[in-house]
Subunit: 454 residues, 2 copies
């Protein structure tokens, strides 16, 4: 029997950990699997869910991965990201409400990882500096630095590389005329940590997607002054903003603390927060291995949204690089598929067929018109992967996503107070004791213990 493939997983967030999880499942089942090393820059696993108070650069002088803020509650129902083989009920032993604070979701993730004893597969405080593909030997050379001792380690060789470092960590910050002389504070949502810091301050948020939507609500909840969200192409589409939040066309320039907008209006603000999204940034990958894309439902160059076509080696894979409705479960089924390919349980078609398959999906992407279309599209993608890999689970939660969109559009301030039913347990989530907009206690203990045990 040939040696196991030696796989490098970069990043121990939900995507990378899903690869470790499914590879372990193969191992436990006595099937061919990979020998995996997972490098994680941070001192703990969890990726974005490993909250940090730091901003900018971390304790080792490297870019902070974390983009979460302290007051974050899930902006989608937990029933839309629940693992079929490890439900929230499995983890907490009871039903809980549907929009958990970040600590609750992190706890849930860790439960699944701990159950499979995956922690010893992760090398923490270890940063991947460089990955190159060796054509002659059909493998990769990976350069890593041990941040805890500030030292490069000797080069490592791997047969496959799994890129699982996400794409919500490196801020995209465009320039606006005059912003360099704005007298107030300027930050990107990546560096937003505590909504309470903005008490009483008049705010401009640039952007109209999830960050603008949620940070505006968080800031008002915590007592900020008025908030203006400024959009480039289209507004959020919500009609029921609470008092003190409004939307305007994009700003055109900044003069002192006065913002000028395309519609001719002006407003004085104290703070500008860029909610302008993130860059796909893989500084450690050599040119031919590097995905270059904007945020899309189906980025080019990735077969099954996962396998990198660029270098022709079929040995580099990306997890979770899509614009996301599905998250944990999508990463998980991608990882399961990647494990099956790496271990040789799934055969890839030839490159022409793979190219055609990508084209087919991207043509469908061109026809998407709204969020509901997007949800249907991504549901197909997730279910297609599940079928390919022979999963026994039906991961389709499109109906829940559609309800969530309805709820949000009905009222952006109350959508987190709604309940959803798990497709796996068939039990409904319970109603949270306090409406989200007035709920200031986001501790795991309070959230989880508000109902009697089952």
């Amino acid at each position: 029997m040939a040696n196991n493939p030696r796989v490098c997983v970069i990043g121990a967030g939900p995507s990378g950990m899903s690869f470790l999880y499914h590879n372990n499942k193969l191992k436990v089942a006595g099937k061919k699997c990979a020998d995996v090393v997972c490098y994680e820059k941070q001192s703990n696993w969890g990726g974005l869910w490993n909250y940090t108070w730091r901003t900018g650069l971390d304790e080792h002088g490297e870019p902070c991965h974390g983009s979460q803020y302290r007051d974050l509650w899930s902006n989608g129902p937990k029933e839309c990201l629940e693992y079929p083989d490890y439900t929230f009920e499995d983890h907490f032993g009871k039903c809980i409400p549907c929009f958990p604070p970040r600590t609750v979701l992190f706890d849930y993730l860790q439960g699944r990882w701990n159950k499979s004893n995956l922690r010893n597969l992760v090398r923490f405080n270890t940063m991947v500096k460089n990955v190159t593909y060796n054509k002659d030997t059909d493998d990769f050379t990976v350069m890593v630095k041990d941040l805890s001792i500030d030292e490069d380690l000797s080069p490592q060789r791997f047969s496959n590389v799994i890129v699982a470092t996400g794409h919500f960590s490196v801020p995209n910050v465009p320039y606006f005329d005059g912003i360099d002389m704005f007298p107030g504070r300027i930050l990107h949502s990546h560096d937003f940590r505590r909504a309470r810091e903005f008490k009483g301050q008049r705010m401009l948020l640039i952007g109209s997607r999830y960050s603008a939507e949620d940070i505006s609500m968080q800031c008002r909840k915590m007592g900020s002054g008025k908030v203006i969200c400024s959009y480039r192409t289209k507004p959020t589409g919500f009609n029921n903003w609470p008092e003190g939040i409004e939307e305007r066309l994009l700003l055109t320039k900044v003069v002192g603390n006065k913002i000028h907008f395309k519609d001719g209006t002006t407003a004085e603000v104290d703070v500008i927060i860029f909610c302008t999204g993130y860059l796909f940034h893989f500084p450690y990958l050599s040119e031919s291995l590097r995905l270059k894309t904007k945020l899309e439902m189906y980025p080019a160059g990735l077969y099954k949204g996962t396998l990198w076509m660029g270098d022709g080696n079929n040995k580099l894979m990306y997890l979770g690089m899509h614009d996301q409705y599905y998250s944990y479960t999508m990463f998980d089924v991608q990882a399961e598929w990647a494990c099956a390919v790496v271990a040789g349980h799934l055969q890839l078609p030839n490159r022409n067929e793979m190219g055609s398959d990508i084209t087919k999906w991207r043509k469908k992407q061109d026809l998407l018109n709204d969020e509901y279309d997007d949800i249907a599209f991504q549901t197909k993608f997730v279910c297609d992967l599940a079928r390919e890999v022979g999963s026994k689970y039906n991961l389709d939660v499109a109906a829940l996503f559609n309800k969530w969109e309805d709820d949000k559009h009905a009222n952006i301030a109350t959508y987190r107070d709604q309940t959803y039913t798990s497709v796996f347990t068939e039990n409904p989530g319970i109603k949270h004791h306090t409406p989200w907009f007035k709920a200031y206690d986001d501790s795991l203990e309070t959230f989880v213990n508000q109902t009697p045990n089952k």
Copy 2:
């Protein structure tokens, strides 16, 4: 005649530009010199003097180099950093006051660089990713990325590498118990941009060196609430802090917005600013080329404070890696020395002698007791290099530095109102129209044009 050495200069700040300047001087004089390529990550030259409104990561997703704040005025007299062959009077055509705002100093620097037409030697928006030494060919391979097109360029070979990326760009941010739950804003002085942002806010500054000293003064000048500077080993030593600034022993923990100090006292604050210095961080250098040091007057491993002994090749040099009193002129004479070595005008002694020389300086360093000792030590270092390289200039401004220390200790709020006499022009700087603590107009025009032309 052998080919010119091909030299890679990393960074187009004062240090790197001084290398280009002196190499150009050799060229103009018809002497043997190097063919130089200077890579600069930013879109303009100036290093720290290229002010940016950005913090954290830059427009390309790379760490922001800039650490300057908008309201910065020089914290030392310009007479202590003046180039002997290009004085402030040469540049501005008249005498000006002694503590210029940042725009005035940047203008001065650019005058010298423009006069020698150095701009076309710099490749802007180009980041060095990796430098390795090739033992077989006794040269370096340098990997660079063109940030403007988001693409790695083909590897470049160089006979020598000059590291001129400074050491005040990557923040050192230690952890304190409870800081992750502090409800207010936390930042490092690296990300401090506008003192006005802190109007009315109660501030804790952690540190007792230049950043703490100046940011506390800046914030009070611009209307902040009270400021506490918290020191680990010793206080700043200033007795005449203006009202509203005090010093305390190091904090021990943070509980909510209450800070606990070693002396048993507590204080509630709204903002914590880390003035805890910077890391020596050269992520692009391979392990054997990399200087690892704390801030010292004479870091280990650098012959004449400049030539890297670590790899045994005598072809890698560092500029400006010392704890600094002298700045522009020290970088300049280091660069002049480096140019002479690279071009073969100066012969290096053998490695034993170089090692002994370093040991000699470092033994002297061990005997330094206070700032005045440091100044004398660094004066000797600068003058020693000038003599080695056959400079016709006497760079000794120790008397000015000593007066500056006296003035600061006499009154930290008024030291910038004092005047100094240029050792090169022998003309005194003129008195600024307004005491610094009440001067809100920091424009170049106002600063330069307050006196009639000569």
